[in-house]
């Protein structure tokens, strides 16, 4: 079985995986990083979004071996110690989460948008979140949170 090595949340991590092991399973089962969630098996819901080399990726649609050598950031790696990342803070401030299950994927996806656009319109945010499902919030407060978070980030994470 192949061995993979990647930087996860700033630390080098290695593991022996099957060829078919998905990145999300490597993160959850091998590394115990259970903040990244699995909500579907057809790459539709976006609960599993992480960053691979700075770009949002559905970790259920990526093999662990594909991320060999990559720089991976999960929701656990976003905050700076006890200080929430501006996007996390914006979700808290604007009540952009309820049950919390889609939240890690939403936040990681939103950070990627904010890295590209520091002042996205409501329309831009709604279109960007095409790959993230939420059943609780009706997206209303998520959209407000993403806009506020992007502005707070000021064009970079």
């Amino acid at each position: 079985m192949p061995t993979v090595t990647m930087t996860v949340n700033g630390m080098e991590r290695s593991g022996t995986v099957e060829g078919r092991t998905l990145l999300v399973d490597f993160l959850r089962e091998h590394l115990g990083l259970t903040g990244t969630h699995v909500g579907c098996d057809t790459s539709q819901c976006g609960a599993c979004v992480v960053h691979v080399n700075g770009t949002s990726v559905k970790s259920c649609t990526c093999l662990a071996v594909q991320a060999d050598g990559a720089d991976v950031t999960t929701i656990e790696g976003l905050a700076n110690g006890a200080d929430l990342h501006p996007m996390q803070e914006a979700f808290r401030e604007h009540h952009g989460l309820q049950c919390g299950f889609c939240t890690p994927g939403m936040v990681m996806s939103a950070v990627d948008l904010a890295n590209r656009d520091s002042d996205p319109s409501e329309h831009d945010v709604r279109e960007w979140l095409e790959g993230n499902l939420c059943r609780c919030t009706g997206y209303h407060n998520i959209v407000k949170a993403v806009q506020a978070g992007a502005r707070a980030m000021g064009g970079g994470s």
Binding site: C45, C99, G100, R135
Partner: protein, 785 residues
């Protein structure tokens, strides 16, 4: 109630959020136990078949496999029970067939549980399941109400002739018939309430453990009501006493009703863990969730409204057929009856109402509660019918509603409910103003100039929430009480733990309940923690559904706090050498009335736990429990207005604006309340425009993944215009009514009424849900001849 910065009425940021935002939530699938094995449930691929021998030898010999169990192995274990017995029109009881956890002689829907494979890894269990050979003889299936009621239809259960579970009625039929005899106008309608799949984003999961040393079972499960699962699983299925069965529902990623029922998988897992003496974990894959989570809605109805010449409603007659699916899930039978038929007075003074409901077994996934549960179906029918009446009588859609509003309270409806309080004019006026209803024709003309058909639709509605008074529901067939418990433990140094039998799966109870307690006790919000979801920690509970948590669970907590204060007064009186009757409690201090002599709650708590100088005969400690059984349902109400633009070339419906004016009773946390409204609106809009569960005639699920079941996405929805007018519930001390289901109940008819309003100039006068572009385009083509 002081209404301070974190108290009742403040938009306090949620306690829950830090853990959810940093990936430190603890959902069932995040939990792993030492020595854990993995279970995979083999499900039926046929909708209806006889089962012969299930050959498991090859699977048992596969790598990593520890065991394979089938229905034959579980014979002797009880079936999955249902929670509500409905009485037929003729006084007989509903047909209640057995529901084995693992199928024995027959499978009855695609997704029915056939076997469990237990292996070292989830992949090994799933691979081995492919090696199971099930001898089966396919039988013809009934996958819809129409198929189930057809002459000579195949039977789902031999003991249910015509596939009928029950034939139920509510209201005075003779009085209603008389109202129609006296009517100047009769308006009729046929509506289908589309079947929905709940789709909480967290799939169901469970881990069961058995400790042979103590005989204790523990089940971690994705449940909205862990105590109810314990009751049903323990007492009815496995025969385990409560003290040997612990149910933990940790963080739960949404429920919407689909995590109310006690599911077969919970019983299979727990039993299997007992057989193997090892923890067994199961996580449902999304594709399996589509065919095993309970579905919602699925009604076909005809109804007629009798009116006088002035547009007053005289009588309403409703005939509904409901699909219950293949087995009776926990609340399946009460959803189309007692959560549906009793809603038909709506906010109107209709003096005579009659509703009959015939419910059918079909070879489909069991149907149970889904956000609103019965009340969206009733509201959709009524508000479509009222709109149709306005058109046929040439009346204004707003005025016909206003003409019939209930204005005197309490109001006894002809279908069992007594509304305690409301102001339907106020929410109507608020919604009309907030939506600029008066300016609509200008917007319609502007859209027409762009080639778009613009429409506006309205829905005025009530709900029955705060479920429910135990004696009332007991007399109607419920097999459980529907009270709630709350415990408040003041610790020796003055911090507080609150224990509630409700369960939060997104609603923010840890915040809202802490606001109530910190406000009442005058302690810091951060000094109050709320505990829920563990039968080993909570005295008892009935869980969260039916918009009940604040009105029923919050009230239990309120009453427990009052008991704490009463006891504290006795302790303070002793310390202050005064009479307990002279002690006042305010802002965290017990004070002798008219003096400045006082003791803080912390001082009283410390004395209660270090009782060296203590009232004679009083127990040490400062912890109280209250059980609260509501006196009545609560009745949230409101007006929802939707505005759409339809492209007549493509049939595409754009939802331009949604306005809500809601009366949900006392608001503890406005931020959380608005969030609940947003979510309910999205769910209702999903039903109206996007979502539809479809089965093929042979019982194969057509809409079995997110690729062909349309979930609302961010770009499908607008931002919502939310407004409030509050009247207080009169029969609970918080004045709370409930908010979780409002949107899904109120908004679907507003959306469809708006689509019809948009299309009426094109000759379209009816529309079914969901109003997809295909359906709308076809309606336009038909109208064009």
């Amino acid at each position: 109630m002081s209404g301070n910065g974190t108290g009742i009425g403040a938009s306090v940021k949620r306690k829950e959020d830090t853990r959810f935002l940093t990936g430190r939530g603890r959902y069932t699938d995040d939990i792993n136990l030492p020595g854990q094995l993995y279970g995979y449930i083999l499900r039926s691929g046929m909708a209806h078949a006889k089962i012969g021998t299930v050959h498991t030898d090859a699977a048992k010999a596969a790598p990593g496999v520890h065991a394979v169990f089938t229905g034959r192995d579980m014979e002797g274990v009880g079936g999955i029970p249902t929670g509500w017995e409905i009485t037929n029109k003729d006084g007989s009881k509903m047909v209640e067939p057995g529901h084995p956890a693992l199928a024995t002689d027959k499978v009855r829907y695609v997704g029915d549980c056939v076997a469990i494979v237990v292996a070292e890894t989830a992949e090994q269990a799933k691979s081995a399941a492919n090696l199971i050979d099930v001898e089966r003889e396919e039988l013809p299936a009934v996958a819809s109400i129409e198929a189930a009621e057809a002459d000579g239809a195949p039977l789902v259960f031999d003991e249910a002739p015509g596939n009928v579970c029950y034939d139920w009625e509510v209201g005075d039929k003779a009085a209603t018939d008389a109202a129609f005899d006296a009517a100047d106008h009769v308006v009729s309608i046929y509506v289908v309430n589309n079947r929905l799949i709940p789709n909480a984003i967290e799939p169901r999961a469970a881990i069961a453990n058995y400790d042979p040393a103590t005989g204790d079972y523990t089940l971690y499960t994705t449940s909205q009501n862990p105590h109810l699962v314990r009751l049903l699983l323990g007492a009815f299925v496995l025969g385990l006493p409560e003290h040997k069965l612990r149910i933990v529902a940790p963080d739960v990623g949404g429920g919407f009703g689909s995590k109310i029922p006690h599911y077969a998988e919970e019983a299979i897992l727990t039993w299997t863990a007992g057989q193997l003496g090892r923890p067994v974990k199961w996580t449902c894959e999304r594709l399996d969730a589509f065919k095993s989570d309970t579905h919602g809605r699925d009604h076909i109805s005809t109804a007629k409204l009798a009116l006088d010449a002035d547009g007053h409603f005289l009588g309403l007659h409703v005939s509904t057929k409901a699909n219950l699916g293949a087995y009776l899930s926990t609340f399946a039978t009460c959803v189309p009856t007692y959560l549906y038929g009793i809603l038909f007075a709506g906010p109107y003074t209709t003096p005579a109402v009659y509703c009959e409901v015939k419910s059918f077994f079909t070879n489909t996934v069991p149907v149970d509660a889904l956000r609103g549960a019965g009340r969206p179906e009733a509201t959709y029918l009524l508000e479509r019918l009222v709109d149709k009446a306005a058109v046929e009588l040439g009346m204004d859609r707003v005025e016909i509603r206003r003409k019939n509003f209930i204005r005197e309270f309490p109001y006894q409806t002809p279908v069992a409910l007594q509304y305690d309080q409301g102001d339907y004019d106020a929410t109507l006026d608020l919604a009309l103003e907030a939506s600029d209803w008066a300016g609509f024709e200008g917007r319609r003309a502007e859209a027409a100039a762009r080639g778009k058909c613009r429409g506006i639709g309205i829905s005025t509605f009530i709900e029955a929430c705060g479920i429910a008074p135990s004696a009332v529901v007991g007399s109607l067939g419920a097999r459980a009480g529907l009270y709630e418990s709350g415990s408040v433990r003041v610790h020796p140094t003055g911090s507080v733990s609150v224990f509630t039998g409700t369960h939060s799966h997104g609603q923010g109870h840890e915040t809202t309940f802490a606001q109530i307690v910190s406000d009442m006790l005058g302690v810091d919000f951060d000094a109050v923690d709320v505990v829920h979801g563990d039968s080993a920690k909570i005295p008892f509970g009935m869980g969260t559904y039916g918009s009940r948590s604040l009105a029923v669970g919050g009230t239990a907590i309120y009453l427990a706090v009052e008991k704490v204060i009463e006891k504290g007064k006795k302790i303070a009186a002793h310390l202050l050498e005064a009479s307990a009757e002279d002690i006042e409690f305010e802002n965290g201090s017990f004070t002798v009335a008219g003096t400045d002599r006082s003791k803080t709650l912390g001082e009283v708590a410390l004395t209660a736990y270090v009782p060296h100088n203590y009232p004679e005969g009083l127990e040490p400690g400062l912890e109280e429990t209250a059980f609260y059984d509501p006196l009545n349902f609560t009745f949230p109400a409101g007006t929802h207005i939707a505005e759409v633009e339809v492209d007549p070339e493509t049939g595409e419906v754009e939802l331009v604006a949604v306005t809500g004016a809601d009366d949900v009773g006392r608001i503890i946390n406005p931020m959380i309340v608005d969030g609940q409204l947003h979510g309910g609106l999205a769910h209702g809009i999903g039903q109206a425009l996007l979502e539809e569960c479809r089965y093929q005639e042979d019982g194969q699920l057509e809409t079995g993944s997110y690729m062909n079941y349309t979930m609302p996405r961010a770009a499908d929805l607008p931002s919502f215009n939310i407004n409030h007018n509050t009247t207080l519930c009169t029969h609970n001390p918080l004045g709370a009514k409930g908010v979780g289901e409002v949107g899904s109940i109120g908004v679907p008819p507003a959306v469809i009424n708006a689509v019809i309003d948009a299309l009426r100039p094109l000759g379209v006068d009816d529309m079914s849900m969901p109003a997809t572009s295909q359906r709308v385009w076809q309606a336009i083509q038909r109208a064009n001849g």
